[in-house]
Symmetry: C2
Subunit: 422 residues, 2 copies
């Protein structure tokens, strides 16, 4: 047996990979480029190129406004129903609309209005900042008697279930957490946390941005109340593609979308002067959906449904384990830290590696070394693994180049005055 | 001189039309189809096909996440600056984001929070219902001491400036109106209404959805406070393309976007845990913009800027006048009413014609007669004129077919049990 650092070792893993063929489903015009940022923006599926051509030229160009009756109107629900299959929800529990932040705003405010006796919202300090901003803005609206409490992380990369339990009180209206945290890739035990939140009589909202499509999710089994998420990471829906909302069926008619618009109204084409909420999940829509960006979401979803999330997760675990093995051998001796949980059960599909020169190193990898991770302050270089197109050989090669940058101190020659890495 | 109802008359008008060449800039794969619904969804510019191909295949497919640094991040401001040219605003007073309804929500709530001493919001009963729903939802949030007053229409198709004046009080926080109303196409005197609102110490918000790109707008000359609008009608941005927000520069830092998200934060990539509003108009963004739908907006804007809105308006007036002439000769004798203002200074670029069998007639025109208007309850068949691609011959032919449907009572054979016209 060769060593994990040998290219032959990686090649053998690729040969054994039953999902390897899915890489062919994506546009990869520069095979030398090692793309490890699918956790930020997924690659372009080949089918999406063709789907967009049809939507633009035939539907918009040819059918014109009739496109709305030919399928555009139903597309938020149709695409929502496919997302539902990925997250263990019913087809009528999910709808695609707006951005994750706007959707979070709608659900959080709706929840607080439904439970005016409970004045605490709980999140954690590892949550994606935009989620925290949304919570802060909702609290600003509902008044100073409300408060937001952030569960602290003991190790800077994970949150213990006990820490959540000890923050939730009988006054908690909502616990809003990211299923996988954006920086360290920590994966919550969704079922355990949902249970403890329910035991406190509170509702839970999961942001699935960093887990959907790469971690099996069963909202029904966990009896999750609310969820939001984006479609442009592991779903490969394209830059800024619209987000989704999940509301468990029995809650849908109890919650009022706080932003009323014609797409959330019962019989919107009656054009009545007064708002009446549409039945079901449709009420969580507001304005007209961006059809081109929405259409781009569907082909990537189909690919994932064909691959099956369980197989994707199995490969993701093999690949993050492999990456961590390589880190241990190649990078740890050079002062690189593992800023993601070592326990695979607590890890999503990206791994953060820390280095004091992380910003410069990431920039150098991107601009000079044909390796694309991304960087998150203060020192995290994130390596995102998207099993539908990431190969073991790519992971090995990326870490070998990372090692070279450090061992040869190439980063010292790299300028410090460059734009921030996004 | 031939009669206006003769095809030769229409052909001569087309020959004299200095904008006729712009029709070539649009995808028109069925020249037999008479498309008069550009007031709902504009046609596809040929340049947009190419632009989307580049954004999808080269930028997303090839540059991947680097596309954000290559121009996607700036695109809400870049496209906003082009919109600013169409509406007499400064480049840093407009930004593209979200839907019209979500943007309206943000600005209305922000305004009420800034002026807590004023508890009345004014709109009119001809406003697009989604706008009224948004106002209702904001009022629901701010409390029962607020009220929404709708200016009434004396004739069902227009609103007198005096009626607005007599509804506005010293307690009015905001007057929110559509510059052109969606059903009758009534065009407000923006300057006069803005003045009277300012004289009452209140702010004005104009919804420009039905006027932008086809009516000259000078927000600076009228000293307009706030505006929103969509980009998929006369701007030809594609189905559900993102909307825009205008906030006059000196108001930008006084207003707080009520929905906080990372795109509205100062230095969003610092990922600070607390929200701080970005300076200027950028603070009115919330989440990640839908880049594909946003990219599709720009080529249509460029076409309009090349044509010049004043020339577009001049042609629009000739065409709506021509349509009304034809109505008078061909349709009025058959019981069709003019449901739009006769005075061109009070009219946008669509004309509503009323008939008791309007729904059936509109459906028949669309499905059997190759004419696409749309229908709005209870009896309005809307004919939208988009001067960049609508010809005089098309207008004549559409009204001739409309006449035939009525004269030969073809609609009587048409089934009543069909889906609603959208």
């Amino acid at each position: 047996m060769t060593s994990p650092t040998d290219v032959e070792f990686a090649r053998e893993l690729d040969r054994q990979d039953e999902l390897a063929g899915f890489r062919e489903a994506f546009v990869i015009d520069n095979p030398e480029l090692i793309y490890l940022d699918g956790n930020s923006l997924g690659r372009l599926p080949k089918r999406t190129v063709e789907r967009l051509r049809v939507v633009v030229e035939q539907e918009w160009g040819g059918r014109l406004v009739r496109g709305w009756n030919d399928g555009w109107f139903e597309s938020p629900q149709r695409v929502g129903a496919k997302i539902a299959k990925l997250i263990g929800a019913e087809p009528d529990e999910v709808i695609v609309c707006d951005s994750t932040s706007v959707n979070l705003f709608k659900l959080v405010l709706a929840t607080l209005q439904t439970h005016p006796d409970r004045r605490q919202v709980v999140s954690d300090e590892l949550n994606f900042p935009s989620d925290l901003y949304v919570l802060q803005s909702v609290l600003r609206l509902v008044g100073p008697e409300y408060r937001l409490d952030l569960v602290r992380s003991a190790d800077g990369m994970s949150i213990s279930t006990d820490a959540v339990r000890s923050t939730v009180t009988s006054g908690t209206a909502l616990v809003a957490l990211s299923h996988v945290t954006f920086k360290s890739g920590f994966l919550y035990n969704m079922a355990a946390v949902t249970d403890l939140v329910h035991n406190a009589g509170s509702l839970v909202l999961w942001d699935l941005c960093h887990s959907i499509g790469v971690v099996p999710i069963d909202l029904k089994a966990a009896w999750v109340d609310l969820a939001v998420g984006c479609t442009y990471k592991y779903l490969n829906g394209g830059p800024g593609s619209p987000a989704f909302i999940y509301v468990r069926r029995n809650l849908q008619d109890q919650l009022t979308n706080p932003i009323w618009g014609w797409f959330g109204r019962r019989s919107q084409f009656e054009f009545g002067l007064d708002y009446e909420a549409a039945p079901g999940v449709r009420r969580f829509q507001t304005g007209t959906p961006p059809i081109l960006s929405l259409a781009a979401v569907e082909p990537g979803l189909d690919l994932l449904l064909e691959a099956g999330v369980n197989r994707v997760r199995a490969k993701s675990l093999r690949q993050t384990e492999y990456l961590i093995d390589l880190w241990e051998q190649l990078l740890a001796p050079l002062g690189v830290t593992l800023n993601s949980p070592r326990n695979p059960a607590q890890r999503g599909s990206h791994v953060s590696l820390g280095h004091t020169e992380g910003l410069r190193v990431a920039r150098l990898l991107i601009e000079e070394m044909q390796v694309i991770p991304d960087f998150r302050y203060p020192d995290n270089i994130r390596f995102g693994i998207s099993p539908l197109y990431t190969s073991f050989v790519e992971i090995r090669e990326a870490l070998v180049r990372f090692q070279r940058v450090l061992a040869e101190r190439i980063y010292e020659k790299y300028p410090l005055d460059h734009p921030a890495v996004t």
